[in-house]
Amino acid sequence: MAGTQGEIVAAHSLGFQYAGSTSKALDDVSIVIRQGEFLLLTGPSGCGKTTLCRCLNGLIPNFHPGEMSGELLVDGVSVAAETTSELSRKVGYVFQNPENQLFALTVEKDVAFGPENLGLTREEIRGRVDWAMDAAGTVALKDLAPYELSGGQQQRVALAGVLAMKPSVIVLDEPTSFLDPRTAEEVMGAVDGLRRENGITVIVVEHRLDLVGRYAERIVVMDHGRIVADGRVEDVIDSEFDRLSGLGIGLPKVSLLWSLLKRDGLVSERLPTHVESAARMLSERLRN
């Protein structure tokens, strides 16, 4: 039951205010996300990125009460009409803290947890668990307990648990905050790989644009509950560089370098967003 032309998420003037809060966490947010997109959602702390994510899988308003306004459709159906349990089949959520989202005593049982809630037969559950653990690279860990795993392994297990639900969208809320840089890159690479192989839509909330920017096609920047920029990563960083810096967003260092050189008239191309393109452009110029 997909929405218009492969739209998996459609928000129209979505607003939300947490119960007991005096300001809007989401203010007139309108966005359309298509199936299979890789979207990087960023913005200064408190801008509403996590709030938006929670709306997608029903944690808002069911777990975090408050007033919702406007409309949000996931896979063509309004979120107001579905429970968190139902939405969890469509939207998977990987949380920031690796350990606090694993509740079973072994990895295998944890990955099975989600499908066990779906009313499937035991064979179906078994199939999903095996597939998900393999896809996320956690088969070797299957009998270990959550506290015996490293942060990166825990995130992979969380990912497997979410995959086993076979969602159309996976939201990852700052999934690599607690991981060291090498593991962070591995996890992001794995996420991108999964997306390509399975056509899953991926939304990653992250401050470090250079980490995710190389995989994401689209970037959405929020500030004070509103969307302030939305477009392809290269386009947005190039055209909105100064404004985004002003908002306190951590732009990739190569982009910053380029903008400084550009200001002095030494280069003229669009801002690169990762090292490879910057290196290429500089080499060309210097080789002349």
């Binding site: 702390s45 942060g151 401050h207 210097l286």
Partner: protein, 247 residues
Amino acid sequence: MGENGAGKTTLAKQLNGLLKPTLGRVTVDGDDTAKKSVAQLSRKVGIVFQNPDHLLFSETVREEVGFALKNFGFEPGVVVKQVERTLEALDLAHYGDTSPFLLSGEERKRVALAAVLAWEPDYLILDEPTIGQDYQQKERLRNFILQLNSQGKAVVMVTHDVEFVAECNPKVVLMSKGQIVAQGQADEVLSDDGLIEKASLVKPQMAKLFSQLSEFGFPRDVVDVHRAKMLLQERLSEVRVRVAQSS
């Protein structure tokens, strides 16, 4: 610096006596840590733990920040003054009578920092201070750390945030599997492929960039954006002049 499990936090805990060595010795200002208690060593060595929730328990921020001072036996008058000073320095004065549990994550981290700075330890150890913070918050932290350091305090950061370290350019000690594998200035250490590999880190963007531009004679040990810009600026201006001349 080093990957998770390299032993960074274990080493940090040796410095204030929480852990004592099984081989060898650790001395702080000449005193053997094995012969002193944690309370004694903490007067000089303050550790700010990664998760502020492991510290916070008081009814107000003021009480929280004053806790250690009371434990160390400072006079009440001194306690009040130190608490106010520290709150001011960390922009928390308006939260003095607020419950620390009502504050946001970043604010709680600042309260934890204030709780340790209150007694002005000579050596300050910060365990993963940048996790979960956005760019602006990290900027503020960086400025604060540099300020502290310029006031004569020794600051030790346990971190794997390469870009943050690149911006501060301090001395770096790299650890891997319980051993120190390198010590040196940040720009030297973080631009060395072999060392980065050993410590399971990634190179800062500038270092990655310049290692791909080595054929043009650029130095490899560039981690700072502004230095990178200056180096490129020279060359690109030359190129521009040459191009202008040849046309």
